[in-house]
Assembly symmetry: C2
Homo-oligomer: 257 residues x 2
DNA sequence: CATTGTCGGTTCATTATTTGAACCATTGGT
DNA sequence: ACCAATGGTTCAAATAATGAACCGACAATG
């Protein structure tokens, strides 16, 4: 791995749960020498990609991202486009709609909309990491990802996030087959208890799967009629989103509408 | 310069005006070999920091920034805090208020609010680069920056953005002296014609100047009363913002209120 | 329709940078 | 007063970055 990649990979250790990381911890997390880690962090800090909170304190993500994400959004108004599509999706289904993006092997939510049709709704958080094996979005993405990513994910021990999480690799592969046939993936309580979610992949201009659109509803509200509605709306929204983002569904994405 | 810094510095060439840059152009801009540039861009692309638009197309900023800026904002809700302060500032003055951040020698706007007190108002753009010598924010930042940054900026030929832009280094140093005494900087039509703006620096926890708050009004509306109002409100807002962001004004920032 | 220029991308011997074990200096807990 | 952390630093050894030249593809040009 090149030096640049090492430096950039450090940024992936920051998360909602651990927004600040000390030098020693970071070195251990990255499996790198402390001196190396220090120099990389210093380089990142010089460009505002990380900063140190107080005096001699831990590192956290820097202010550069504010500027660069504003520029990105100005060049490619992805979030705006996504929110538009998600909004109508959540209105049509009466449930929470969200979109996630795959970046460096991690899937994280980047936009979501709520419906006000019901008092209860599934709550989302920005930039939350969605496990690939335990969410409908993850399954949808895996289904249309290169085999080596699938193998890599499924060869590791799979963590059960709820009692309902499917952690058996063979069983997950079955789910992927089903998703390939139906065009959408399903997860019932696999990520959060009492949440039933459907997801459909989204593709870029080279037909690589870049993420997924999903609708999440409380299991108590889910019935056949709602499932059918969600599946139809979701497939339509995902295809529309793919097109709006300048992407093309691959040849092997043939949902039976 | 280390490899990491080189890679990160490539990102600075993207701007609102040039959101996409080809390999050859990028190499020329960065003054680096094409092969080097290619490898760096590839590394950046692997982490989602840049991406290629179509097939064999130019590079642009990638989707990683969406995620990382969301995480940054979750850890350090700077924008939220800033917008709150700016909102009351623009209400109090009846004019456009904005805040800019200094990153890697570049000052760029990262939040702004409008007032609806008048039909005309100064318009802002997100992530717009503010020149250090031709804007009130730039002058405010320079005033409280290390001498070497000031020297570096003023030793280069200064570009005139309007007929009113002050491009004489000695004259600018006078403006900096005045800002040091008054606590705020002023620019009349130096960046955009017919815009009269005031700015006050903002500091971090180590009392380094990290940016500025400013109020921009049409020159036609500016009179003594408005100037006094803006200066008072601005100084108060900047100090409040510095505190809210966990910063401390340095010993030599002594505005006479 | 051949010519030329430019583009993104690739190669590989040379070279300069990164690396990491050991070492400081501080801090905070016991 | 001690010990065990921490962030930060050093310098010879090892490795990764570098850049001139080179491709193949495409577009404009004559």
């Amino acid at each position: 791995m090149g030096t640049t990649s090492k430096a950039l990979s450090l940024l992936n250790f920051f998360s909602r749960a651990t927004p600040e990381i000390g030098l020693t911890d970071m070195a251990r997390l990255a499996g790198m020498n402390k001196a190396t880690t220090y120099r990389l962090l210093t380089d990142l800090a010089a460009h505002g990609f990380v900063e140190q909170a107080g005096t001699g304190r831990e590192y956290r993500l820097g202010p550069a991202f504010l500027r660069l994400s504003a520029l990105r959004e100005a060049a490619v108004p992805m979030r705006e486009v996504a929110v538009d599509v998600l909004k109508s999706l959540s209105i049509a289904t009466g449930e929470t709609a969200h979109m996630s993006l795959l970046q460096g092997g991690q899937l994280s939510t980047f936009a979501f909309t709520y419906s006000d049709a019901h008092g209860t709704q599934v709550r989302m958080e920005d930039a939350e990491v969605l496990t690939l094996h335990a969410t409908s979005s993850g399954l949808a993405v895996l289904t249309f990802s290169p085999a080596d990513l699938v193998d890599q994910v499924l060869s590791q021990p799979l963590k059960a996030l709820t009692p309902e999480t499917v952690t058996d690799a063979a069983q997950i592969r079955q789910q992927l087959d089903q998703c390939r046939q139906q065009g959408f993936a399903v997860s019932i309580g696999g990520f959060e208890r009492d949440v039933h979610s459907h997801a459909v992949p989204v593709f870029d201009s080279r037909s690589n799967c870049i993420g997924a659109v999903a609708v999440a509803a409380p299991v108590t509200r889910m019935d056949d009629a709602l499932q059918t509605l969600i599946q139809q709306e979701l497939l339509g929204s995902a295809v529309r989103l793919t097109r709006l983002l300048g992407g093309f569904p691959p040849a092997h994405f043939r949902p039976k509408l």
